[in-house]
């Protein structure tokens, strides 16, 4: 009995040491540039860049297979940070990322919501609260405005509400050609 316990324990110990040694001896260094790029991305995993998440997009950037201007949630700030890190020239945002949108968050019209949970599954940041056959709602502080919950909704009860500017978030609007003034925030709210 004792020999059995001892034999198995010692065998397991030897194997454990062997594996531990192998893990150190054959350690594979991950590509450090991927980690750095990944750290700059917003981690919303929204997939709007065309890759299935932030990490794959970071790998594609590191492998020079993708441009640095494809991230809509990150916007211009992320693009400039990436161009600094990689020593590339900043490129203007393209496609979905280029459309300048006011900061918005999703809002579920609770009168229309049928409680199907489809939007909960779509939300990359778990900002939607609810259960089957129960009314859902969006936690505004968690919402990144990625709009991924809009397409799955069968009754189209989710709307993007632009964030109203208050004393903390108010900015000078960028003067456009021909007309000056008229802050974008009020335009969006109206």
């Amino acid at each position: 009995m004792l020999t059995a316990v001892l034999a198995i324990s010692i065998l397991a110990l030897i194997f454990g040491l062997l594996l531990g040694y192998a893990a150190v001896r054959f350690k594979v260094e991950g590509d450090p540039i991927v980690d750095k790029v990944d750290a700059l991305l917003p981690q919303t995993q929204c997939g709007q860049c065309g890759f299935p998440g932030c990490r794959p997009y970071a790998e594609a950037i590191a492998a020079d297979e993708a441009e640095i201007n494809l991230c809509p949630p990150g916007g211009e700030t992320t693009m400039i940070a990436l161009s600094d890190l990689l020593g590339k020239d900043p490129v203007p945002l393209e496609g979905v990322a280029a459309e300048e949108k006011p900061v918005a968050y999703a809002f579920i019209d609770e009168q229309e919501c049928i409680g199907c949970t489809l939007c909960i599954q779509a939300c990359p940041v778990d900002a939607i609260l609810g259960a089957a056959k129960q009314m859902h709602t969006v936690i505004k502080s968690e919402c990144t405005g990625c709009e991924l919950c809009l397409p799955p909704c069968p009754v189209e009860c989710i709307h993007m509400i632009p964030e109203k500017s208050d004393i903390n978030s108010w900015k000078w609007s960028i003067p456009t050609e021909g007309e000056l003034g008229e802050p974008t925030a009020t335009k969006a709210a109206g």
């Binding site: 020999t3 059995a4 034999a7 198995i8 065998l11 397991a12 194997f15 062997l18 594996l19 192998a22 893990a23 054959f26 350690k27 594979v28």
Partner: protein, 193 residues
């Protein structure tokens, strides 16, 4: 020499582990959807099976029998197999990233392949020596790879053909496997004659 050749032929064809002994059916059904993955799985299994067959022989011969602990055989073999698979994965990741990418998730999955444990236990049961154990493991794995690749090729063609609705998907796959098994039964008289 003749008996070594016999061991190989008998494990690959006559006593094929998948189609005659019905071991390792899970990866046989699971990874046979595409030919590429089937080849990858076959390679990984061949490597691990041969290595674990030898290792478990050594453990049995030089640890369990001298200490009179043969009742611990199963658990000791499971331990050996798990370690061999893990070790292979770590070493492969470092030395051959390309092969590691090809094998992917299938490598750790081999731990739970019952053919691996089956080979180790059958080695003991049939009182194989060192070389015989290695050959038996290699032969079993070659047979496994052979039928896996054949089955994957058949399945790739079946998916594009016009299968009646009740038989679509896994049903037709199981029927195909049954037919292949019956075909392999035809090898049964090969060695005796």
């Amino acid at each position: 020499m003749k008996e070594y050749a016999l061991i190989l032929i008998s494990t690959v064809l006559v006593n094929n582990f998948v189609l005659v002994k019905f071991l390792g059916l899970c990866p046989f059904m699971g990874v046979s959807r595409k030919l590429e993955t089937a080849v990858g799985m076959g390679l990984a299994t061949t490597f691990v099976l041969t290595l674990s067959s030898v290792c478990s022989f050594l453990i049995n011969e030089y640890l369990l029998i001298p200490l009179d602990l043969t009742f611990l055989r199963t658990i000791a073999f499971i331990l050996v197999i798990a370690v061999v698979v893990q070790f292979t994965e770590v070493v492969l990741h470092k030395t051959s990233p390309v092969l590691y990418q090809v094998l992917g998730i299938f490598l750790p999955l081999i731990t739970t392949n019952c053919a691996v444990l089956g080979v180790a236990l059958l080695n003991v049961q049939e009182q194989h020596g060192f070389v015989e154990s290695a050959l038996y493991g290699f032969g079993a794995a070659s047979g496994f790879s052979l039928v896996l690749v054949l089955f994957a090729a058949v399945r790739e063609r079946v998916t594009v053909s016009d299968v009646p609705e009740p038989f679509q998907g896994n049903a037709i796959a199981l029927i195909t496997a049954g037919l292949m098994s019956m075909a392999f039964m035809g090898f049964a008289g090969l060695v005796a004659s």
